[in-house]
Amino acid sequence: MKNKIDLKELWNKQETTTPDAKELFDKIKRLKRNNLYALIATNVALLLTCAFIGFVWYYFQPEMITTKIGIVLAIMAMVLYLFAYNRMIPLLVHVGYDMNNNQCLQQLLKLKEKQLFLQTTILNIYCILLSVGLFLYLIEYALRMELIWAIVSYSVTFLLIVVVWFDFRLRKIKKQQAKINGLIDKLEVLGRQLTTNE
């Protein structure tokens, strides 16, 4: 029993002072302010993008329905992307702290899998919407061009879409997958630590 007493005694001798709660409240204030700034920045970015697209709509007065659909799709892509990354995913990440460790780890594992699925799906939808939007948007202007320029415009756009689809998208998905899969592996190790002695 002597060892038990010794360990507890030593444990309690760890030098600690309770810092002034003010430091913590400063941190809370800072966090709130940063959240507010992030919210404002997101909305400003969104509004500016929509204003710019609205200006294009107003200034160039598109006549064909395909152009209008294209613009709407592009706006939808951006709104969806911003919404997912600023609202939905953080909501998924910050939960479950008052569960027991076992439940918390299991929930985190489920959330990470969901997050991986969501990020991949949203990125795919974003790329599809943007590509289709751009493709439709260009039709009206391509029709007004000489054939050769129309072909050049569409080739360049097509190339851009291919790059986005196969390079940017795949690279981003791979990076996210590697990060989350690494975390899932570590979570499984922790989960096993809790179950092996049962």
């Binding site: 060892n3 038990k4 010794d6 360990l7 507890k8 030593l10 444990w11 309690n12 001798k13 760890q14 030098e15 600690t16 309770t18 810092p19 709660a21 430091e23 913590l24 941190k27 809370i28 966090l31 479950g96 702290y97 008052d98 569960m99 027991n100 460790n101 076992n102 439940q103 918390c104 780890l105 985190l108 990060k179 690494g182 975390l183 570590k186 979570l187 922790l190 630590q193 809790l194 002695n197 049962e198």
Partner: protein
Amino acid sequence: MTFEEIYKTYWRKVFRLCMGYVNDHDWAKDIAQETFLTIWQQLSKFRNESSIGTWVFRIATNHCLRQIEKNKRMPKANMPTEIAEVPQTDDSSKIEFLYKCISELPETDRIIISLELEDLKQSEIANIVGISEANVRVRIHRIKEKLTRKFNTYEE
């Protein structure tokens, strides 16, 4: 209990728990602060289903475990710098050694032994970690044996 009361009662305990987990003074302070941030945010949702202590330790231990999400800082078993500045007595080197040994254990064992050393009942530890009381008892016994062995080698 108001937030201020919880803060005064539990800061030291939560800090020691985090210190046992990471053995790094600044990092432990960060985790303790994150814990109290969550407590501050969630206090209105606390429904007295468990004791306030169990609730606080659940949040603290989950914050410790979720350090794996922060890839940049990997747990290390170095001597804490803060203590190194304190004049070395026989006790302070033993304290350093104890925290170093604990931080080298598997993650969940670090939590279990830290809670035990904080004098929590085994039923409460079982409730925080989410394993059976019998399992808690067996694991505490094993961890203490391991620590005692290390201390015996250290003192030789």
